[in-house]
Amino acid sequence: MSVLPTSFGGVFKIKDKDRESLATRSLVKNQSVYGEKVFDIEDYSYRLWSTRRSKLAAAIKKGLHELPIQLGSHVLYLGAASGTTVSHISDIVGEEGVVYAVEFSPISARDLVFLAESRSNIIPIVDDARRPTNYTSIVTGSIDVVYQDVAQPDQARILFDNIRTFCSLGAWAMIAIKARSIDSVSETRQVFDREVGSLQESGLDVIERVNLTPYERDHEMVLLRVTEDL
């Protein structure tokens, strides 16, 4: 078994015989967050990053070119659920970085809080991402990346409102667009285009679009950047 770096800092490949999987170097030794395998290799623990459980892993696997989430990044994560993806982002940004994890379902947030107890760089926020000013008293300091996976029909609007509340020029955004939750009738492709179009109209630059099939059906990961004053 061997561990190899990828083009993204903090993201690794673990080679076991002829199988290759994504992994992150765990901030907490020997911790498995959602049942993923953990390997100890030379002083570090690596947690396998499941492309079926995490859309960010799927996007990386499907060839995402640029990952703004890096060592030291300040990330605002909307729709954190129980913290599956959040835990890997926490690994990547490290102790100097921070992940503000917003989740409004108290049931999912229970596990999220549990996770945050063992990781000082996760700030759990049990609130509605539609009301960003409800959590401005906790989220102080700058935000580099807004990551969003809320699976709601108004997800573009939610993303934009959060960007406008927290980000300045140069900030990044990543959104996992779920076609089904926006409109079940129109063609998936059209739905993606419409959503991406509305984000562009509101002043964001589309950097990259990655279709997540076969890991997630009807999903696209879109990377955006704030290039004009909002």
């Binding site: 000082s120 401005t136 008293s137």
Partner: protein
């Protein structure tokens, strides 16, 4: 001068449009204070640190403060010292917030960046935990349990009282006829156990003069087995139980009434806390109730009758639970269907308001309902003529099987006009 007010977990800050702090109230390093201040302000309540800061702002003579959140604005408005303006997209505030972590250290409010982070982590965890435990204590769930408990207590009061009455009638058969109220019946038994059987004793436990007289004479004249002290022990214990249950029920009722004022003030204004609570419980939750159509609400609690009517083609029920509302049960039978429909319509509106906006429209709905009841009364003063029976005419006889069913629905229909 217009200034910006920014509440954060580290402290509350007032800054000018250059981002310079003019006034501040530091909360760091008190974690619990940060938790309460943040939670209270976000519920639109005023807290001492905010109050103090606004007093200072007032004496500085600031015209108004700009805030970016409506809850914060509400809290400040409640205090009424300084005018407040909401600007959800204030660039000045955004700029200030995004620099705050640096400012905190530069102004020596917090020792270093590590402590900024650990404090934030501690406070956020505490707030998140309390949010989660609050949610698991969702208030309409409390309403449901309490009102269901009341129903179960009632059943128990009935069962135990019936036992008590039958049992006691072996000794004094007339009492059960003279005292209808279960609680009072139990009280009489307890009084007898203490040796009190005179009219005075009965007046003491709240009977009116005449009935007290009747009861005490019945004790002397009644036929029945002789009553010994030993017989009285189990009877008194049972009576005690009934009294306790009645008392528990009363407290439970008060609890439900209080809860309902906050959970569903509009429904409560319309039909009272207990019927309202039963409707919520029957529907499952306030949200479930708000999603039901008014025709479903009208027969909620009459599922058995509804099912029977579907199976056998008898008249569907005109009302379920809502029959307990005085305007309905005191109305003559031919007005009840119309009143029930009007009431169900209003309840459906009230439930939507309670579930979604929380606006106070209770009195308005109540007035509208009362007005409608008056209309129904004046428009339908007399009972409808008796329905023609099959024997009257051949023509009707021929149509009977088809008509009898539709005819019954027909009685419900005309008032829709």
């Amino acid at each position: 001068m217009q200034v910006h007010l920014v509440p954060t977990i580290f402290g509350i800050f007032i800054h000018d449009n250059k981002g310079e702090i003019i006034l501040h109230h530091v909360i760091y390093p008190d974690v619990s204070l940060a938790v309460t201040v943040t939670s209270k302000i976000m519920e639109g309540h005023i807290v001492t640190p905010l109050q103090d800061l606004l007093k200072q702002a007032q004496s500085e003579g600031f015209e108004s403060v700009i805030v970016e959140n409506q809850h914060v604005a509400r809290a400040i408005e409640e205090l009424g010292t300084v005018a407040v303006v909401i600007d959800e997209q204030s660039r000045d505030i955004k700029m200030f917030r995004s620099m705050l972590d640096d400012i905190l250290v530069r102004e020596k409010i917090v020792e270093d960046r590590t402590r900024v982070s650990t404090f934030r982590h501690d406070v956020a965890l505490r707030i998140a935990r309390s949010r989660i435990s609050e949610a698991s204590k969702s208030p309409d769930l409390l309403v449901k349990h309490a009102i269901d408990a009341i129903g179960e207590i009632d059943k128990n009061i009935n069962i135990l009282s019936m036992r008590l009455r039958e049992w006691f009638s072996i000794f004094r058969p007339s009492l059960t006829r003279l005292v209808e109220d279960h609680n009072q019946f139990a009280q009489v038994i307890k009084t007898i156990n203490k040796g009190g059987t005179t009219k005075e004793d009965l007046l003491k436990i709240g009977f009116a003069d005449m009935i007290a007289e009747k009861i005490s004479t019945s004790f002397e004249t009644d036929m029945g087995a002789p009553l010994t002290g030993e017989d009285l022990i189990p009877l008194t214990q049972l009576a005690d139980m009934v009294n306790n249950l009645v008392e528990t029920r009363q407290r439970m009722e008060e609890y439900v009434s209080r809860l309902m004022q906050t959970v569903a003030p509009n429904i409560t204004a319309l039909v009272g806390p207990l019927v309202g609570a039963r409707l919520i419980s029957m529907a499952g939750s306030l949200l479930d109730l708000s999603r039901k159509t008014s025709s479903t609400i009208q027969v909620l609690g009459a599922e058995k009758a509804l099912f029977r009517s579907l199976k056998t083609g008898t008249a569907p029920p005109k009302h379920g639970l809502i029959f307990q509302v005085p305007e309905l049960y005191s109305a003559p039978y031919w007005q009840r269907g119309k009143i029930a429909r009007a009431l169900a319509g209003k309840i459906s509106i009230a439930a939507k308001i309670d579930a979604f906006s929380g606006r106070d429209a209770g009195q308005m709905l109540r007035d509208a309902f009362e007005k409608r009841v008056k209309e129904i009364r004046t428009q339908n003063p007399n009972p409808p003529p008796p329905k023609p029976t099959a024997s009257i005419q051949g023509r009707q006889g021929r149509q009977r099987s088809g008509r009898s069913r539709r005819g019954k629905y027909g009685r419900r229909r005309p008032s829709k006009r």
